[in-house]
Amino acid sequence: MPGQSDKVTIKIPRPLYNRIGKLIEESGYNSVTDFVVYVLRDIASVHNRAEDEVYSEEELQRVKEHLHRLGYL
């Protein structure tokens, strides 16, 4: 169940906050929080993971089996 405990507060310098506020004007981001969460997720994502690390051994087997049944392997 979503609740307040799902979110935490992080403090950033006010000038940075103001600058981001200007940056995102008419950008499609609804708020500074939206933008900051997007950027942090991007950095923390699997973007740079090696291809071999995408799946655990068990997941890789599941995916290979699925592709095999689909006729691609």
Partner: protein, 462 residues
């Protein structure tokens, strides 16, 4: 052209160009309305015409030689056994949602192939069928997953097994998944603020592979009056109804596209290419084998082998080259002449009736451009212009099999999919020729009034 603020792409994986004929459109009023009002035509797929790389060619406007993958599985160069799967981690090129997102456009990306593992987008994303399961993290943002599961009443990533003889169950499953997708699409459509919305239905692909023989009088196994004769047509009518609902929700500032990544046609059978290579003296095994056997590199005497192949809806032939493969036999100096000889032999292959197939054996250098052409297989082979798929296993009773190694499959892929674009406030009804996958992304950019990146290979159709 009226002001366009939003663009929608609805993908029907594997939908063939025939859908744009009067006969098919007669039963699909919503697609027909779009065709009559907008721009449409057959959409030439990538080479090879297959889900991966096709969808990514479409949304990045790049050919596979730029992307670096030629199918779901790809060979690790220099290894006999090494392969890797082209997930989203393998996509280095920027796709529509990456470019549009960076320019402040919010995107909703739903079930587009090669989106797992999930990378953040400016908006929302639900990944596609390389997702291991619903226990995986398949959405951006992660908390969207709970909503999706609730809205879909239990989200399903893909059909469990379409190679089954239990066709009634398969049909139920395809409809069930389709309706879950539709419920989620409507939810995203209404709940999210988006400028670009793209979803892909995999259902057309699954139903065509599972039911083509029931529907196509030209299929070898077609039986008139069978209970599934209308299964594929009825399914497209169902998709058309859902299309109509989405179009009615779109608003007057939205351009809507219906596209597919490749087409489909009847499968004539499976040609066992590794058995053929053995007969040609180009592939040698360590010891004779007894009965159908899965291809394994351990079975091969590499010191006496010139070439081996992977199967699928097309075949990839690899040559055993000195300096590249661990036990290469073909010298770099004779590489081209050996490859020419292979092409010559492959194009003389006959079908089970002794008729010479219309086989195309293609050099990657003639198909692709870009930094990854060197990593491509040595030949791409389309048996009988794709009507025959390629079987990889060894020791089959004949070079020709009526089914695949892993169960029934009725359809193969074809080069042309569909492109339909309706523009708000326009009555054009134009049929276009020579469209290709890579034209889709620049068209979207143009419609949204944003600059087309210089590295896009396609051209906007508007």
């Amino acid at each position: 052209m009226a002001a366009i603020n939003r663009v929608v792409i609805i993908g029907w994986d594997c939908a063939p160009a025939d859908l744009l004929s009067d006969e098919w459109l007669a039963e699909m009023p919503n697609l027909r309305g779009m065709v009559n009002q907008g721009l449409s035509g057959p959409l030439r797929s990538s080479d090879p015409p297959i889900t991966v790389p096709a969808w990514t060619c479409m949304v990045s406007s790049k050919n596979p030689g730029q992307l670096g993958f030629y199918g779901f599985r790809n060979r690790k160069i220099g290894e006999y056994d090494g392969m890797w799967i082209a997930t989203s981690a393998a996509v280095r090129a920027r796709r529509l949602w990456d470019i549009l997102g960076a320019r402040g456009k919010r995107c909703a990306v739903f079930n587009v192939p090669q989106t797992y593992p999930v990378k953040p987008v400016n908006g929302v994303l639900i990944s596609s069928f390389l997702t291991p399961g619903t226990d995986s993290q398949y959405t951006h943002p992660p908390e969207l997953k709970t909503d999706i599961d609730r809205v879909a009443d239990g989200y399903i990533i893909d059909c469990e097994n379409f190679r089954t003889d239990d066709k009634g169950r398969l049909l139920d499953q395809i409809y069930q998944i389709t309706d879950k997708r539709f419920a989620v699409a409507k939810y995203l459509w209404e709940q999210e603020a988006w400028d670009f919305f793209m979803m892909v239905y995999m259902g057309p692909d699954r139903i065509q592979h599972g039911f083509w023989k029931y529907h196509d009088p030209q299929h070898r196994k077609f039986q008139p009056g069978n209970p599934f004769e209308r299964a594929i047509r009825d399914y497209y009518k169902h998709l058309d109804q859902q299309l109509g609902e989405l179009v009615s929700m779109a608003g007057e500032d939205a351009a809507i596209m219906v596209v597919s990544d490749h087409g489909a046609k009847r499968m004539e059978g499976s040609f066992n290419i590794n058995d053929w290579l053995i007969k040609q003296g180009l592939l040698t095994l360590n010891a004779p084998i007894d009965g159908p056997t899965k291809f394994s590199v351990d079975l091969v005497d590499w010191s006496k082998t010139v070439a081996w192949a992977w199967g699928g809806y097309y075949s990839r032939v690899f040559m055993n080259v000195q300096g590249r493969e661990p036990q290469g036999t073909v010298t770099p100096g004779e590489y081209e002449s050996v490859r020419d000889d292979l092409i010559n032999r492959l194009t003389q292959v006959t079908d089970d009736q002794g008729r010479v197939m219309n086989t195309r054996a293609l050099r990657p250098q003639d198909l692709f451009s870009g930094p990854y052409v060197q990593e491509a297989p040595d030949l791409f082979v389309y048996f009988d212009d794709l009507y025959w798929r390629a079987g990889e296993s060894l020791g089959n009773a004949s070079l020709h099999s009526s089914d695949t190694e892993i169960g029934p499959d009725d359809a193969v892929h074809d080069y042309d999919g569909i492109f339909v674009l309706s523009l708000p406030g326009e009555q054009r009804g134009e049929r276009l020729a020579r469209l290709q996958l890579m034209d889709v992304a620049p068209t979207v950019m143009k419609l949204l009034g944003t600059q087309i990146p210089v590295d896009f290979e396609g051209t906007s159709v508007v």
